[in-house]
């Protein structure tokens, strides 16, 4: 069968499941006793295994299977959750991720996973009997153990005249459909009584995870012989041993358990079972599927289709502009009304289309807990990552770009910000450092803040370093404000860590962060207090596809300058232009700003003579400024950013194009390329 059509769905869903596993594993590490988390992981792993086996990715299925065994051990209290165990499981998840990624990029999803599989196997076997003796791994013994809840149920049944039996059912060695036989046995028992408990648990029985035999505890009004006869009717059953139990005798021997926590959780599991006992296997599965469908009422749409939709819509906007103009000229009241209505509807439509491209930052954030955990372990620090506002939405294109800068900043906060536990204790801080990752909307921007309660930035240290590296001169250093000093961290070739570590690299990181964010039309600022912590604040535009620009005219051509780079506009007289080293400059609010005549930069054909006044747009790139000389300002406008296509790549100082209301194309100026 051709599976390729399902491949995309498979990859998407696998990634989702891996993400769930990752998240839940982190949860599990925090509360190792919570069985519901294990169940959640188990479910995802199980689905993943099923999917990959169906798609024919054997390595993926095998590794998942092995991981599932370990999870199963945890679920059955055979294996205790330890950080070391989690490391191995995380490594397995990493491998799974690598395989899925390889499949996504057209590979065969094969990978050498023997080592991890081996480790998983060791865990599965090694730790088995130590913690849990009350639930034997083999069912050859007839004694079951009962939690308080089950005990109460049994007591209660007894009062109502039910007998309690433990029934050992042994299936024939050549039995093919064990799960089906189990189901039939349960079905038979449910007709005459109620199954209180099974060993191994029902889930495992359903999945055929047992040898030949299993034990069930049943309450029934029937006699032992009748039950025996009932079960023996099921084919492929080799042996049935029905033992009557006296409930009263159970309590002293079995319930003097020294592990109240465990019996409680077991009771919970049993309670779940109780609820579901009427339904057969299929119904339960359906129920789960159904539940999932309700929780997630979305469809997947290829981003390309959204782009096409956006393109079509933009054309509509251009036509709308023309219609508005025509209606104004004709001055026909009804036409006027209709056009106005259409305009309103289309602006609603625009909002919806733009919103469709929005993705919660969660998609980027959700990989950070894993990374932080790993880093903290590597560095021997204790770190608590708090994520706030993960539901904040950003344009898909921004989301795709923002991941790496955030990783850099987080690593920086963890490596340089948070101190070692001993140091923190000595300073009277809690040993565990806190890193807050916070996202929120404000106006037309999204802010992402990375806050740590670590050492903060040492002004003197930064200055010393900057002077040593020749980034600033000694004279300048004294006059800088704290903020300006912090900005120096973003200068290239800067690293304040006394020793270079793998984690925050060689100081190439932060200047890359700054330039990436600026290329997205955003900005980064730092606030810090020594000994208390630092905040890195990133400001990003809501969307990249629509930006605010200033339209300017140069001779007969129109260009757009992104508002985010503009400081202000000015009109200067010819005689105000000064000359310095063959460079025309102006004195702008006490600063010397070089002038760039766009007419010359862009070789614009000259048709008009210049007059004595120049229109200047002051733009900035970081701390540097430049004045772009144009002929006239047209005004501010929201425009849709378009690429120049694949033929014209890397045109100097042009970052893209946009289509104006009259249908013409205007080029968008890349100020970063103009300022050296």
């Amino acid at each position: 069968m051709d599976m390729s059509q399902y491949l995309e769905i498979f990859i998407d869903e696998s990634k989702e499941h891996l993400q769930t596993i990752n998240e839940q594993l982190l949860e599990l590490e925090k509360s190792p006793d919570d069985l519901s988390i294990v169940n959640e992981i188990f479910r995802s792993a199980h689905t993943l295994k099923g999917m990959s086996a169906t798609m024919g990715f054997e390595d993926l299925a095998n590794l998942t299977h092995q991981m599932e065994n370990v999870l199963d051990g945890i679920r059955n209290h055979k294996i205790v959750v330890t950080p070391e165990l989690m490391d191995v499981v995380f490594r397995a998840v990493d491998d799974l991720e690598a395989m899925v990624n390889s499949i996504a990029s057209g590979g065969d999803g094969k990978r050498d996973v023997r080592e991890v599989v081996q480790q998983l196997k060791q865990i599965e076997q090694g730790d088995v009997p130590t913690t849990k003796t009350e639930q034997p791994s083999t069912t050859s013994t007839l004694t079951q153990t009962y939690g308080e809840f089950e005990y109460n149920v049994l007591q209660h049944s007894k009062e109502q005249g039910f007998h309690t039996y433990e029934i050992l059912v042994k299936l024939r060695a050549d039995c093919l459909l064990k799960a089906a036989r189990v189901f039939m046995v349960f079905d038979a028992l449910n007709q005459v009584g109620e199954v209180i408990k099974a060993n191994p648990p029902v889930e495992l029985l359903e999945e055929e995870k047992f040898d030949q035999e299993f034990v069930v505890t049943v309450v029934s009004k029937q006699s032992a012989e009748q039950l025996h006869a009932q079960i023996s009717k099921v084919s492929e059953v080799e042996e049935v041993i029905v033992t009557a139990i006296d409930v009263d005798k159970l309590r002293p021997s079995e319930l003097a358990s020294s592990q109240p926590v465990l019996s409680k959780t077991e009771a919970a599991v049993t309670a779940e079972k109780e609820e579901q006992k009427e339904e057969n296997v299929e119904a339960q599965k359906e129920e789960k599927e159904h539940h999932k469908a309700v929780a997630n009422k979305t469809i997947r749409v290829n981003i390309e289709r959204l782009d096409i939709l956006m393109n079509l819509f933009e054309e509509l906007v251009i036509d709308r502009g023309r219609l508005e103009q025509i209606s104004r000229e004709l001055n026909h009241p009804e036409l006027h009304e209709t056009v106005e209505r259409m305009s309103r509807i289309s602006s609603d439509l625009q909002n919806i289309i733009l919103n469709m491209r929005m993705v919660p930052v969660e998609t980027v954030f959700n990989r950070f807990p894993r990374m932080v955990r790993q880093l903290a372990r590597d560095l021997g620090k204790k770190i608590n990552l708090e994520i706030i506002g993960a539901e904040t939405e950003l344009d898909r294109t921004v989301i795709d770009e923002i991941g790496d800068p955030l990783v850099h900043l987080l690593r920086n906060a963890i490596d340089h910000g948070i101190e070692m536990p001993e140091v923190r204790r000595a300073k009277g801080k809690p040993e565990e450092g806190t890193v807050k990752l916070k996202a929120y909307h404000s106006g037309n921007h999204v802010f992402i803040e990375i806050e740590d309660d670590g050492a903060g930035i040492n002004r003197e240290k930064v200055l010393q370093k900057a002077i040593n590296k020749g980034i600033i001169s000694k004279q300048n250093a004294a006059n800088l404000t704290d903020k300006q000093v912090y900005e120096l961290i973003f200068a290239s070739g800067f690293s304040t860590a006394d020793k270079i570590s793998d984690i925050s690299g060689r100081g190439v990181g932060l200047d890359v962060v700054k330039s990436t964010i600026e290329s997205l039309g955003g900005s980064v600022t730092i606030d810090s207090q020594e000994g208390v912590g630092s905040i890195f604040s990133i400001q990003l535009p809501l969307t990249l596809s629509i930006i605010s620009v200033m339209l300017v005219e140069i001779q007969q051509e129109k260009y757009a300058i992104p508002l985010s780079s503009i400081i202000e506009t000015a009109i200067i007289k010819k005689e105000d232009i000064l000359h310095a080293h063959h460079q025309k400059v102006i004195d702008f609010r006490g600063k010397v700003v070089p002038l760039l005549f766009l007419k010359e930069v862009f070789d614009v054909p000259v048709v008009k003579e210049e007059d004595d006044f120049f229109s200047v747009v002051i733009v900035r790139k970081g701390e540097k400024m430049a004045g772009l000389v144009v002929d006239s300002f047209i005004g501010q406008q929201e425009v849709v950013l378009k690429s120049l296509g694949n033929y014209l790549t890397s045109v100097f100082a042009i970052s893209g194009a946009t289509i104006l209301g009259d249908g013409q194309v205007a080029l968008i100026i890349d100020c970063n390329a103009l300022i050296k």
């Binding site: 051509e557 296509g645 014209l648 045109v651 080029l667």
Partner: protein, 149 residues
């Protein structure tokens, strides 16, 4: 593309006195001349970009690409939008006159010397009746290394 089929459907256009052909599969549409926005610091034959139904599309003047003297655009001038891989580019031609079914057999390898146009850009020539059609090698025409300054 010259394939095993017996006939090749081509769009025929004119450039100076010659007739050229592009396989119809590579042609997206034929447009009349509209406002072209000049893109600074690009090779001279890149006329700029147009708004093609919401998509910004670069335009190449084939005359200048082939080193034929430029003429002002007129009523006959057309822009043929061609697609190659993931690129869409418009070619300015003097006129687009015809769609023809070329018998594959009639296509011959390019002769050593062809007037004006460098032989590199030519995939072959075809004789249809009295007309001589030059099959363009689009990949070469749109090659990027010559498009950078």
């Amino acid at each position: 593309m010259v394939n095993q089929e017996s006939e090749l459907k081509v769009i025929v256009f004119q450039l100076k006195n010659e007739e050229y052909a592009i396989p119809v599969q590579q042609v997206r549409s034929i447009e009349k001349v509209q406002h072209i926005t000049r893109v600074p610091r690009t090779p001279k034959f890149v006329k700029g970009v147009i708004n093609l139904r919401g998509v910004v599309t670069p335009i190449i003047d084939l005359r200048e690409r082939f080193g034929i003297e430029a003429i002002p655009f007129n009523e006959q001038t057309r822009i043929i939008i061609v697609a190659l891989d993931d690129m869409e580019v418009g070619l300015v031609v003097d006129a687009a006159n015809d769609v023809l079914d070329l018998p594959v057999k009639s296509i011959e390898p390019p002769p050593e010397v062809i007037e004006a146009v460098e032989a590199d850009y030519i995939k072959g020539v075809a004789k249809v009746g009295k007309r001589l059609l030059i099959l363009l090698h689009l990949e070469k025409v749109l090659e990027k290394d010559t498009s950078t300054v």
